[in-house]
Amino acid sequence: MYCVKCGVKLSDDLNVCPLCQTKVYYNEEHIAVNKEKKYPETMPTKNHANKSLASILTMLSLLATSIILILCYQLYDEIRWGGYAILSIGLLYVFFILPLWFKKYNPIVSTIINHIAIALFLLYVNFKTGGNWFLSFALPLTIIICFNAVLAIILIKYVSKGGYFIAGGIIIIIGLSSMLIEFFQHLTFNSKMFIWSLYVVSCCTIFGIFLLLAGIIKPLKNYLNKRFFI
């Protein structure tokens, strides 16, 4: 079969001209005979755990931790600032080095583990500074952020359609969360209720509703797709 536009002869397995995308029409008999493709469907596997790099970085982290410990006990006979430094190394380890050990690191599990690490770090800071803000403020704040992040990941990863609804919904939830955060701030620090969060809620709600509408109104959706595609 020849392409009517380019004038080239096309091989039998092609349904469109690969040069100009013009459709080629065959009879059914021809399609049944010449379905064979030039290449198989299999793709090479790419994912693998980077264990050698992970072990080198683990060794370096352990080395840094032990140097800090030795230094603190030699200088002050107690841990002092070393605690913050060691926990910071631990936090970086959980964020960046831990994922290297696994072939596939589930983003939901990693988000939860990262937030647990942050909460433990804050608990240590609270304990060291003698504050009493952890249970009433830092812990709820971490849980709210973790919940929002996990919800966003689940929606983005597992729901393939309705991008505008997902984005709109997430933005509205973020806005409402800010009110909750300000409530815990009020409980802990006796600050006035709902001052800054109202700005966040109003902005997020307006923008969220706009995105929800964009999901419903097709011309608006097409316009946004055209102007903001990545």
């Binding site: 080239v8 002869k9 091989s11």
Partner: protein, 420 residues
């Protein structure tokens, strides 16, 4: 027993430095045969060639100062082919093996990481592998040719040498060159390459090239430059137009009589500046042919070799750790190699197999991968009066291919198109 290892040859030093997540600088030679491939005979053939081609059975390793090639413990295992040719070779894979031997239905393909050999060296290995496979499968004796070597013979030192060091001079050529027109397009998903193959009868192509008083390589380069000029005209104002240059790798074996199966190829850039005025195809052919004649002389190429060999002798570069070297080499390559050309055309030439093989082999093709900036790359090979022009791209748009092949059709060449 300690494993044998090889230093990278002068051209190969570049490839580990410039490889990135999406581009491993590999090329592929594939043959379609007249029966379904028997993987056991193919594996036996791969094993048998280890003694004759030791520099192909290696993995890429990193030393403190230089990368090197280390002999593999086992020969590579034959694998079923993938959905796209030349899928990415990761450093992890290259550590184990720098070649992939693939089969699918009645096709055998070998993908080579460029650091171990060039197109000509790879073709000698591929044709010898094909011959050995047919010998095992059908219990026949196959005569030898320039492309098929005897697997029993021991390998000579000459075949494993870095010929660049042998044929250099003391007058390095300048790398300075103006930037060329770079094609742009929408990147393909998953970084897969789209391959379009144009098949033309070699006799007709040869005759047409003769009408323009040039070789097939010069003729195809001229048509490609004409296509690129047309594309640039569509996309850029006249005063913003850049020169259109194409990189052509030159096989130096013929020029110096080297027998190495490792890299011995040097690229030259040929082209024109469209700002100077319009060119007809005949004028382009004449200009490209004269650029070829001027550049490809033993003296000029020796100067080009010197500009690659001399920096290696610099003590500062020698003692620089590998990551620093990779960074420097990558930057030099990007500015003097990638930005100065619009795309590559690599012509493997006419492949002549021993006549015992001809009834079994239907076609032989040569494919090179596109690069980050040179989003289209073109490779050419001829076998049994058919010339296979493979244009590989990592973008969605097929405008260049459309213009190029339409021009060939307009010139009276019947073109058959295939694609993956």
């Amino acid at each position: 027993m300690s494993k044998k290892w090889y230093r990278l040859d002068t051209a190969a030093l570049l490839f580990p430095a410039v490889m990135n997540k999406n581009w491993s600088n590999a090329f592929r030679i594939e043959a379609t045969i007249n029966h379904e491939v028997d993987p056991f005979s193919l594996q036996k053939a791969v094993d048998d060639l280890k003694v004759r081609f030791p520099s192909f059975y290696v993995g890429l390793r990193s030393g403190v100062f230089w990368s090197y090639l280390q002999e593999m413990e086992e020969t590579p295992k034959v694998m079923s082919d993938f959905a796209y040719p030349l899928t990415f070779m990761s450093s992890r894979e290259l550590k184990k093996s720098c070649i992939r031997i693939l089969y699918y239905k009645n096709r055998i393909a070998v993908e080579f990481f460029h650091a171990i050999t060039d197109g000509t060296g790879g073709n000698v290995y591929f044709c010898s592998l094909l011959a050995r496979y047919l010998e095992i499968k059908f219990d026949i004796e196959i005569g030898k040719s320039p492309f098929v070597v005897n697997h029993d013979e021991p390998v000579s030192e000459e075949e494993l040498e870095d010929s660049f060091y042998k044929y250099t001079n003391n007058y390095p050529a300048s790398r300075k060159e103006a930037k060329s027109y770079q094609l742009k397009g929408t990147r393909s998903k998953n970084d897969c390459f789209t391959l379009i193959t144009g098949i033309i009868e070699t006799d007709k192509l040869k005759q047409l090239s003769k009408n323009y008083n040039c070789t097939i390589t010069v003729f195809l380069t001229a048509v490609m430059i004409e296509s690129l000029i047309e594309m640039q005209k569509q996309n850029r104002f006249h005063h913003l137009q850049k020169q259109v240059k194409i990189t052509i790798p030159i096989n130096l074996r013929k020029l110096y009589g080297s027998k190495t199966v490792r890299n011995f190829v040097l690229p030259i850039n040929v082209g024109v500046n469209p700002k100077k005025g319009d060119y007809s195809l005949a004028e382009l052919c004449k200009s490209i042919a004269s650029q070829f004649d001027y550049e490809i002389t033993p003296q000029n190429m020796a100067s080009r070799i010197a500009s690659n060999v001399n920096p290696q002798k610099n003590i500062l570069l020698q003692i620089a750790p590998l990551p620093v070297k990779r960074f420097v080499l990558g930057a030099v390559y990007y500015h003097s190699g990638v930005l100065t050309s619009s795309l590559n055309i690599s012509n493997l030439g006419v492949i002549k197999l021993p006549e015992e093989m001809d009834p079994f082999v239907e076609r032989i093709e040569f494919i090179i991968s596109p690069q980050k900036n040179n989003i289209n790359n073109c490779s050419v090979s001829s076998y049994k009066n058919h010339t296979y022009i493979n244009i590989n791209r990592n973008i969605v748009e097929s405008e260049l291919e459309r213009i190029f092949f339409s021009k060939l059709v307009e010139l009276g060449l019947p073109v058959t198109i295939e694609s993956n």
